[in-house]
Amino acid sequence: MKKGFLSIILHAHLPYVRHPEHKRFLEEQWFYETVTETYFPLIKTLRSLIQERIDFRITLSLSPTLLSMMADPLLQDRCLRHLDRLIELAEKEIDRTSRDERFHRLAVMYRERFVEARRIFCVECGQNLLTAFKELEKSGSVELMTCAATHGYLPLMAIHREAVRAQVRVAVETHERYLGSRPNGIWLPECGYYPGVDEILKKEGLKYFIVDTHGVLYATPRPKYGVFWPVQCSSGVAVFGRDPETSKSVWSAEEGYPGDFNYREFYRDIGFDLDYDYLRPYLNGDGSRLNTGIKYYRITGKTDHKELYVPEAAGAKAADHAGNFMFNREKQIEYLHGLTGETPLVVAPYDAELFGHWWFEGPEWLGHLFRKIQFDQNTFETVTPSGYLAHHGRLQTVTPCASSWGYKGYSEVWLNGSNDWVYRHLHKAAERMIACARSIPHAEGGLKRALDQMARELLLSQASDWAFMMKTGAHSAYAVKRTRDHLERFTALWDQVQKKSIDTRALESIESMDNIFPDIDYRVYAS
């Protein structure tokens, strides 16, 4: 009899970035980078575990924007071209480093990784990564959850219930469209919860969501088991609270595993280190330098002095750290079991993009962890939230605390001097959308298409990514432009709908540019 459970949840999300109007576009690169550095390595790790018949459970939330990008033929083709360019660059690197074995073998390592990624992408997935995720889910070891349609931050949208509902409903429909079944759980964007959102989730058939630690700890009444047992809202939707200890051991810049000096240094990329003319064919469309993904150094220490990366040493560290993580869970779960007499659950959610992209050895660590949990201990087992709910009894009913997992725990990241100007426009657009859906319940033809496109533009403008980027300053000009572009397109269409005169040519152009959610029906905004 196990004394408790561990639930690892990876949240995978990127904003919808697709620019058919440009041949190569800087922000589109995010998708190709994370596909190459996170999603391929994760798929590879999870597949190996399944082939080795390791009994493990993991949960992935795949945001609807990410699913839509994975399914998009233009981005699929461009992703393949990206991989081809990387392979070519790695081959040039093999040549360039041929006289220095220490670099040379790393260049070979990268080429092998890229070639394998290309093989998985083309041969095994038919250029569609969703095939791989569906197959993982079918194994029974992986649970796929959804997220809000465009990762809208729901607490700051709550003034319009229909807008929140549209984010949730379109998410569930998109998940079903691309993955073939309706999800049980939803990752609330940024863990942004407010009391009442659970009623909307319930109506869309969702059974659970995740909140940050204080979302459960500060619940009313006091949660008997803290964050170590799920609770439920009065709607009956279950709530899982994030465990801070597991969070710190992976996230923390100071104490977290990814900061180990043996691990690969993210910030020393050949894209910034090597000769410009040599790199030119592999840089951004505008000629600016970028992270190519080929990095030869390890973190080494806290100064700029960096030493060469040694994959064997990093691999050994990843195994050590997996052992340490497992040991700490054993102790934690034994303690909680002794204290409560119950089987506690430790919920450990992370951004998927941390694994592989930022923490190069992350996917390997995950593989070691699941193997060790199976063979090296008997205290706990891994579980998905749905698996846990299916085998455990009644939950305590509480009202969780409005919260997020952002800095300071509430809404300040998405509501501050850098981004607060967006809300008056987002709210106005939502108000107009809802009014249109109410007053035109049976639109057809061009009018329906215009209204559907308005829904797409509104959803795209609501992505929490834009407010976040405005706050951090990185790519903030792009974030401002995206917010403005979608709102302007929305308003132009709204104007045409008011005048009952649709500019079909302009509409077609917008439809082909912002082509997300092909089946959307604007009536999702009707009350």
């Binding site: 700051l156 809404s411 100007w421």
Partner: protein, 143 residues
């Protein structure tokens, strides 16, 4: 909108027509307009009546962060003009919002209860006194 347990954010757009309408109403009563203020109402809760306080704001502003300082309370804000004698004439009224809770609840469901020392140990294991996000300390409060 509630930004966190202590702060609200409000934005607005008031037409000149509405402002003139209110000005006329003030003058009809032979009063003199003085300041543009936000009247912040804390709505009644168990054992509490509605109460309010005013924040003077710049005439030019079209948004404002309001420090209300109380987690777990319901709020409505009106924006308008206060006269020299202290009468308030509202231009616009906000939606109702609630500041998030902060701190561990004192409300305990008898069916889901432990002795206090066990509760404390569980909450300690959940990092309740380590301060989350390194920005604040947790307190036990009844709010």
């Amino acid at each position: 909108m509630a930004r966190d347990p202590w702060w609200l954010f409000a934005y607005w757009e008031v037409t000149e027509r509405r402002q003139e309408e209110i000005l006329r109403a003030i003058r009809r009563e032979r009063l003199e307009p003085d300041k543009t203020v936000m009247r912040v109402y804390e709505l009644a809760g168990p054992g509490r009546e509605d109460r309010f306080f005013d924040i003077e704001i710049s005439v030019m502003a079209d948004n404002w962060y309001l420090e209300v300082g109380l987690p777990g309370r319901r709020w409505v804000v009106e924006l308008g003009v206060r006269t020299r004698g202290g009468r308030f004439f509202a231009w616009v009224r906000s939606n109702e919002v609630m500041t998030p809770r902060y701190g561990i609840s004192d409300e305990i469901d008898a069916e889901w209860s432990f002795p206090e020392d066990i509760f404390l140990k569980i909450f300690k294991a959940a990092g309740a006194w380590d301060g989350f996000q390194k920005s604040s300390n947790l307190t036990v409060s009844s709010s």
